[in-house]
């Protein structure tokens, strides 16, 4: 991850964990209360995504990124807890940029508004936590050759300049 530069385009194979607004709120509340998280964030990538329901015979429904900046207030604490990457769309706050540099993490972009296309790269989906949140639950996705753009690298350089 540390060799990635802002602007690089890569194909990622591995795991992603979906989490958006309400899941972030809960994760951060649990960290603040000193509780154990429902998943080990260390070294993982969170994907800001709430997929549609899964059509019959498919692994996942439409699954593109949501606006990352809504997660800005929660991100530094998750990075402190060991999170290594975030995947979403759009710009991040100054605080998040600083935290990314401090914890040597990376912020990626996925093709936005391309949820149908991105289903092609997902081979598995498993519920991890917060089922009551519906599409905002945390899912573990196994992806193959998922196209990513490096937006903010571990040195704090940004594609948005």
């Amino acid at each position: 991850m540390r060799y990635l530069k802002a602007g690089d385009e890569i194909l990622y194979t591995g795991k992603l964990y979906t989490a958006r607004d309400q899941a972030h709120k809960r994760l951060v509340e649990e960290i603040k209360r000193g509780k154990k998280l429902p998943l080990d964030l260390r070294g993982q990538i969170i994907y800001y995504c709430g997929p549609t329901l899964t059509p019959k015979g498919r692994v996942i429904g439409s699954c593109g990124p949501t606006t990352s900046s809504r997660m800005d207030e929660f991100t530094p604490l998750l990075l402190k807890a060991g999170l290594k990457g975030m995947l979403g769309k759009g710009i991040r706050s100054e605080d998040v940029m600083k935290a990314i540099k401090k914890y040597k993490a990376v912020y990626f972009l996925a093709y936005s508004g391309c949820g149908a296309l991105l289903t092609r790269y997902v081979s598995k989906k498993r519920l991890v936590a917060y089922a009551d949140l519906g599409p905002e639950a945390i899912y573990e996705l196994e992806v193959k050759d998922f196209p990513l753009i490096v937006a903010i690298d571990s040195k704090g350089r940004s594609i948005y300049g």
Binding site: G50, L53, T66, G90, S112, T119, Y160
Partner: protein, 281 residues
């Protein structure tokens, strides 16, 4: 009086939900294709290609164009000679929305209480009704994604405000939408009426055919729309906010008379996946 069964409305709404979420309107597909041809920025071109491919996959494989299948906004034009039988209009619409979203495996994005939130469901829709002449009912379903809805704004100008002040505001709204709201955008502008009515006009402007640079709307509003499109295109936001000349596919303006003391201007931003479908029954 022409009798129209509520069940017929429910069925039509369910069909429109699927059509809108799977198949991008032809004029948007056309606008994307011509933007792809005109675009010179390499990365912007690549992203536009992904957007075009995405629309084809969604249509062919019956997948949602975007996972944000929106808050369903339903416009109903009811002819004054039409009489709905066998149930209420509101129930018929919401049942149709529920049926369509469930059947299409779309996303349950609606929380019952805006403060308490809770587990999301499919309904209710936001419904705008209008009484018109005749005995038909026109239904239009606009599943509005919230990445772009969040960036929409309204401003109450002084009646003496200049066109350039209004333009500046609209362009600022687009700049602020930036990379978050999935550019290239379609910008709906509502000018006039009251504060709430200007917002409705801006949303309705998104239902009009988007012709972009080929727009032939005449008069001062046509001129304003073309100037706005030109200036927005110079912002270099580009697809995903990563640069390029494809920032906006079109600007549509709707107007209404207003009060001597005011000049409301509303801007409703749509992402590139501007989905809507309509049917007359």
């Amino acid at each position: 009086m022409r009798q129209i069964e509520a069940g017929k409305i429910k069925k039509a709404v369910a069909e429109l939900v699927l059509k809108a979420n799977y198949a991008l309107p032809v004029f948007i597909r056309r606008a994307l294709k011509s933007a792809y041809i005109r675009e010179t920025n390499k990365r912007a071109k690549k992203i536009l290609k992904a957007i075009i491919d995405n629309a084809a996959i969604a249509r062919n494989e019956k997948l949602a164009i975007c996972q944000d299948t929106g808050l369903p906004v339903v416009f109903v034009e009811i002819g004054q000679e039409a009489h709905i039988t066998g149930g209420s209009l509101t129930n018929a619409i919401n049942q149709g929305i529920g049926q369509g979203y469930r059947q299409g495996h779309l996303r349950n994005s609606i929380v019952r209480d805006p403060l308490l939130r809770g587990k999301p469901g499919f309904v209710p829709a936001v419904i705008h009704t209008e009484i018109t002449a005749g005995d038909k009912i026109k239904l239009t379903v606009l599943p509005k994604g919230f990445g772009c809805e969040n960036k929409s704004q309204v401003k109450m100008f002084k009646p003496t405000a200049s066109i350039s002040e209004i333009k500046k505001f609209i362009i600022e709204v687009v700049k602020n939408a930036g990379s978050d709201a999935c550019p290239p955008f379609i910008v709906g502008v509502g000018i006039g009426g009251t504060q709430d009515y200007a917002c409705l006009l801006a949303k309705k402007a998104l239902l009009k055919i988007v012709r972009g640079h080929r727009s032939r709307v005449t008069g001062h509003m046509g001129k304003l729309a073309r100037e706005l499109l030109r200036e927005i295109s110079r912002l270099n936001i580009g697809p995903m906010g990563l640069g390029g000349k494809t920032t906006c596919l079109g600007v549509n303006i709707e107007t209404y008379p207003t009060h001597i003391a005011g000049l409301p201007v509303a801007v409703n931003i749509s992402c590139h996946a501007l989905r809507s479908a309509a049917k007359i029954i």
